[in-house]
């Protein structure tokens, strides 16, 4: 699974730590989600999408 978190973070000028603080997780969790090493819960995915003003569908790219 790929994500557009890094790209959208850059667009809104947010660091990993800023985003982590917004959604209430640790910075490493954002890092692992960005790298595709960790699949977040639906709740966390929704919170990240909301913080980056987008939708879950737009944020995560699923590879078949």
């Amino acid at each position: 699974m790929k994500t557009r978190i890094k790209e959208l973070r850059a667009r809104y000028n947010l660091t990993q730590e800023d985003l982590a603080r917004k959604v209430g997780v640790r910075r490493e969790t954002i890092l692992f989600i960005e790298k595709g090493n960790y699949n977040p819960s639906l709740q966390l995915a929704r919170d990240i999408a909301k913080a980056l003003k987008t939708t879950i569908d737009d944020l995560f790219i699923f590879e078949d």
């Binding site: 997780v25 640790r26 969790t29 790298k35 960790y38 977040p40």
Partner: protein, 135 residues
């Protein structure tokens, strides 16, 4: 339990473990080689626990949570591996003692110590590995 209470309790537990170890060493008289190994393992576990506590305190100072869903999942997984290790070490310790040390019977307090140490070590190794891998 909130994050700060957890950190204070963790620190208290760490200090109590070190105090227990110090009292034991002061009253033990002569300490043999196998006991030294156990002490080393306890010290490693204490250092690992101290690192986890320090890491959580650092995150709280930055205004981030001490643990989140990823760390909670990691704790559950590591706990499961530690539990499996505890069961198998209880079964395996007497067998291995018989095969390698020629001891047909292993006393209960040795088995208890082995179960506690092995499960704690497996928990710590799994925890750090999973935290490093991210899942």
């Amino acid at each position: 339990m909130n994050d700060k209470t957890g950190i204070i309790l963790g620190l208290l537990a760490t200090i109590l473990v070190l105090l227990t170890l110090a009292v034991y060493i002061m009253n033990a008289g002569t300490i043999d080689f196998t006991e030294l190994g156990s002490f080393a393992i306890v010290i490693i576990l204490v250092l690992a626990a101290t690192y986890i506590i320090w890491d959580r305190a650092k995150n709280i100072r930055k205004g981030l949570p001490a643990k989140d869903e990823r760390l909670i999942n990691i704790s559950y997984k590591a706990g499961y591996y530690g539990f499996i290790a505890a069961i198998w070490s209880a079964v395996g310790a007497p067998l291995l003692a018989d095969i390698f040390l020629g001891r047909e019977e292993l006393e209960g307090h040795y088995i208890t110590a082995i179960v506690v140490l092995v499960s704690a070590i497996i928990f710590m190794i799994s925890y750090f590995y999973l935290a490093w891998k991210g899942k």
